[in-house]
C-alpha cells in the first residue's frame, strides 16, 4: 500500500540545506557512452545528496524497439498491476512486457515492482470512437490516467528508445540496483537528490519524464502552484509530489504542443527581467513582452539548475540569477554539464573548454542526424548569446 496514489503524508516539514547534484553527457555523433561514465561523474558529487533519491536517463538504449514507446512502470502491490496491464493491452499493441532488470543491493531494503512495456497505440483503440488524438497525445493521456487513477502505479518513463531509472538511494546504489553500467547511451543524465520540501520516495526521484523529455533538477520551484494549475488546464496532472515534475510537462506543452523552439521555451521558463526587456530594440521588446504575457504562468520562479534531455539533444539551463551551480565542458563531439567542474573532470580530464553558462541562457547541444536537416554544423553547441527570440 506504500505506493498508493496521491499520498499526503503528514510529515514534519523541516528545511535543510539543498544541494542536489546533476550530471549530463551527450555524444553529438551518437556514439554510445557506457553507463559507468555517468555513474562515475554523479558519484563524485555523492555529498550533494543524502540517499533519498537518485536516477538516470539514457537515450539510445532500446534500438531494437525504437518505434515503440517504452513504459517504465512502478507498482506498489502485485494487485496494482492487473488494471494497468488490462488498459495497456486494450489500447496498445504490445511488443514486449518484462521486469526491468534489477539487482539486490544491501542498502535498498525495499523497492516497487518494476516492469517495462514496449508498446504502440492501437490504430483501432476504443478512444478512436470519440477522439482523434495523435499517438504522442494518447501516450500523455495514458501516463496521466495511470498516475492519477490507477492505485499504486506510476509511469516514470514513456519515451521511445530512451528510459529513466530512478529510486530512493545514493547514486551508486541506484546505479547498481538497475545495472546502469550495462546500458550504453548517446545521452545520459544523472541526479543525486537532497529532498528539501517534499518526501523522498520512488516516484519523486529524478529524472522526471514524459514522452522523450526528461529533466533532472537542482533547486526548488516557488511557482509550482501556478505552473501546476496552468498545466492542469491542458490535461497534465501532477502526481509525483516533487516540484520538478512541472518542468517536464511545461517543455512538452511549449515545445511539442505549442511548437516553440527550445530557445524560446527556455526564455518563457527563465524569462528575461522586465527592466532588461525595456532596454531592447522595439521589435524584440514587443516579442519578449508578448512571450512573458502569454506564458506568464509558465514562468519558473525560484532557484534552479536543470539538465533537460530529449530525443534530439541535451539542454542545460539556470534560473535568471544563478542560484544553483552549473558548469559545462566540451571535448570534440562530447558535451558535459554538471553541478561541479570536478564531476566533469572525473570522466574527461582534458576538456577543450570549460565554462559556467550565464544565468537564464540555455546551453543547447543537438545530436547530428542524417537526412533530417540537422547537419554537423547545426549539431554544434549554442548558447543563447542575446535576448533575441
Amino acid at each position: 500500500m506504500w505506493l498508493k496514489n496521491n499520498p499526503r503524508p503528514d510529515y514534519n516539514y523541516q528545511k535543510d540545506i539543498s544541494g542536489c547534484g546533476l550530471a549530463g553527457i551527450i555524444h553529438r555523433q551518437r556514439k554510445l557512452i557506457p553507463g559507468s561514465e555517468i555513474v562515475k561523474s554523479i558519484n563524485l558529487m555523492n555529498d550533494r545528496g543524502n540517499g533519498l533519491g537518485s536516477g538516470f536517463a539514457a537515450y539510445g538504449i532500446y534500438p531494437e524497439y525504437k518505434d515503440y514507446y517504452a513504459f517504465h512502470i512502478m507498482y506498489g502491490e502485485r494487485a496494482d498491476i492487473e488494471g494497468v496491464e488490462r488498459f495497456i493491452r486494450e489500447n496498445y499493441e504490445v511488443a514486449k512486457i518484462e521486469r526491468i532488470p534489477h539487482y539486490h543491493v544491501s542498502s535498498i531494503v525495499f523497492h516497487p515492482r518494476l516492469r517495462r512495456y514496449f508498446v504502440r497505440p492501437k490504430k483501432d483503440r476504443p478512444d478512436r470512437e470519440v477522439a482523434e488524438l495523435s499517438d504522442d497525445d494518447f501516450v500523455v493521456r495514458t501516463v496521466m490516467k495511470i498516475n492519477v487513477e490507477e492505485n499504486g502505479a506510476y509511469v516514470f518513463s514513456s519515451g521511445k528508445n530512451m528510459g529513466a531509472f530512478k529510486g530512493v538511494g545514493f547514486p551508486k546504489d541506484i546505479a547498481e540496483f538497475y545495472g546502469i553500467n550495462e546500458y550504453e547511451a548517446y545521452i545520459w543524465t544523472g541526479h543525486n537528490r537532497f529532498p528539501t520540501n517534499t518526501p523522498g520516495w520512488w516516484g519523486g526521484a529524478h529524472p522526471f519524464t514524459l514522452l522523450d523529455w526528461s529533466i533532472v533538477h537542482n533547486g526548488e520551484i516557488s511557482s509550482y502552484g501556478i505552473n501546476k494549475r496552468y498545466l492542469e488546464m491542458f490535461g497534465y496532472r501532477c502526481t509525483l509530489m516533487t516540484d520538478t515534475e512541472v518542468m517536464a510537462y511545461l517543455f512538452d506543452l511549449l515545445i511539442r504542443k505549442h511548437h516553440l523552439s527550445i530557445e524560446t521555451a527556455c526564455m518563457a521558463l527563465a524569462a528575461p527581467f522586465w527592466k532588461d526587456i525595456e532596454r531592447l530594440p522595439e521589435e524584440e521588446k514587443m516579442a519578449l513582452k508578448s512571450l512573458r504575457m502569454v506564458y506568464g504562468s509558465a514562468l519558473v520562479n525560484g532557484p534552479f539548475a536543470i539538465l533537460f534531455a530529449h530525443s534530439k539533444g541535451l539542454v542545460g539551463l539556470n534560473d535568471r540569477i544563478k542560484l544553483r551551480p552549473l558548469v559545462a565542458a566540451e571535448k570534440g563531439p562530447l558535451l558535459y554539464m554538471a553541478s561541479e567542474e570536478s564531476a566533469i573532470r572525473e570522466i574527461c580530464s582534458n576538456p577543450e573548454r570549460v565554462w559556467s553558462p550565464r544565468a537564464g541562457y540555455p546551453v543547447i547541444a543537438w545530436l547530428e542526424e542524417e537526412g533530417t536537416g540537422i547537419t554537423a554544423e547545426l549539431a554544434s553547441i549554442s548558447e543563447g548569446a542575446s535576448l533575441r527570440l
Binding site: 563524485l44 558529487m45 555529498d47 527592466k275 532588461d276 532596454r279 540569477i321 544563478k322 551551480p325 558548469v327 561541479e340 567542474e341 570536478s342 564531476a343 573532470r345 572525473e346 570549460v354 559556467s356 550565464r358 544565468a359
Partner: protein, 249 residues
C-alpha cells in the same frame, strides 16, 4: 630543504581523509604541502591557522579555504564555488577561473584569481580596523559582484577582454554599504545596483591599489603596467545603511 615539505597524492581520497592527512602533516611540522591528483575534495585548508603553504594540483572542491586563518594556498587549476568563505587571514592564489560566491563574508586575507569568476563574488565581505579583505580578479565577473558588500576591497581587471567589452554583469554592488570596488573599464548605469555610485579614482585610491596590483602581477607573472593601462572606476555605497529606512515605520 628536504624536511618541511610533504607531498600527498589525493587521487580518489575522500575529503575527510585528505583533510586529516593535511592536518597531520602540519602537526608534524611540514611547511609546504603539495597535493597532487585533487579532484573535487571539499573544505581543503579550512580553518587552518598555521602559516603553511598548500599547493594544489587539480580542481579542489567547494569551500576551499573557508574559515582559513593564515596559510597560503596555490591552486594550479580552476577552483569551484565558495572559495574563501568567511576567511580570516592568509592568501589564495588561483591560476585559473573560480566559481560562484567567492569570498563570502570574508573578513581578512587575500584571494587572487587569474581568470574569470562566477556570480556573487565578494558577497558580504567586511572589514574591521586593519583587517581588510582583498579579492582581485584578472578576468571577467558576472552578476552581483560585491553584493551586500560591507567592507574590504574588490578589484576587477578584465585583462583578457577587449577594450570595448563589459567585464562585469548586472546588479553590481547591489546592497553594498561599505568597502570599495575598483573596475578597470567602463560600467553602464543599468549594470549598477541601486545602492552604489560611480567615482573617478584619485591619488589616494592609486596609493591603495598600486601595491596590491604589484603583488598580484608578481604572483601571476603579469606586467604591472598592463594592469594599469586602462582607467579604473571606483564604486562606493551611497549610504552605509541602504535599507535603514525600509523597515522604519
Amino acid at each position: 630543504m628536504k624536511n618541511g615539505r610533504a607531498k600527498i597524492n589525493a587521487s580518489g581520497i575522500y575529503y575527510r581523509e585528505l583533510n586529516r592527512m593535511i592536518r597531520e602533516a602540519i602537526a608534524a611540522g611540514e611547511q609546504e604541502i603539495e597535493l597532487i591528483g585533487v579532484n573535487g575534495q571539499r573544505y581543503i585548508a579550512d580553518g587552518i591557522k598555521q602559516k603553511v603553504m598548500i599547493i594544489i594540483d587539480g580542481v579542489p572542491g567547494n569551500d576551499l579555504s573557508a574559515f582559513m586563518d593564515g596559510p597560503t594556498v596555490i591552486v594550479n587549476a580552476n577552483a569551484q564555488d565558495g572559495v574563501g568563505n568567511t576567511m580570516n587571514d592568509g592568501k589564495v592564489i588561483i591560476h585559473g577561473d573560480a566559481g560562484d560566491v567567492i569570498g563570502y563574508g570574508m573578513r581578512g586575507g587575500k584571494v587572487f584569481i587569474k581568470g574569470n569568476v562566477g556570480y556573487r563574488v565578494g558577497i558580504h565581505m567586511k572589514s574591521y580596523k586593519d583587517q581588510v579583505p582583498v579579492i582581485i580578479v584578472g578576468g571577467k565577473a558576472v552578476d552581483f559582484f560585491g553584493e551586500y558588500m560591507a567592507g574590504g576591497i574588490l578589484i576587477l581587471l578584465g585583462l583578457t577582454c577587449p577594450n570595448n567589452q563589459s567585464i562585469v554583469g548586472n546588479y553590481l554592488g547591489t546592497g553594498m554599504h561599505g568597502g570599495q570596488i575598483f573596475v578597470r573599464g567602463k560600467v553602464e548605469k543599468h549594470q549598477l545596483g541601486a545602492e552604489v555610485g560611480i567615482q573617478e579614482i584619485g591619488p589616494q585610491d592609486h596609493k591603495l591599489i598600486e601595491p596590491l596590483l604589484r603583488e598580484y602581477c608578481e604572483d601571476f607573472n603579469l606586467d604591472y603596467n598592463e594592469s594599469m593601462s586602462r582607467p579604473f572606476i571606483k564604486l562606493v555605497p551611497v549610504s552605509h545603511r541602504p535599507y535603514g529606512r525600509l523597515y522604519a515605520y
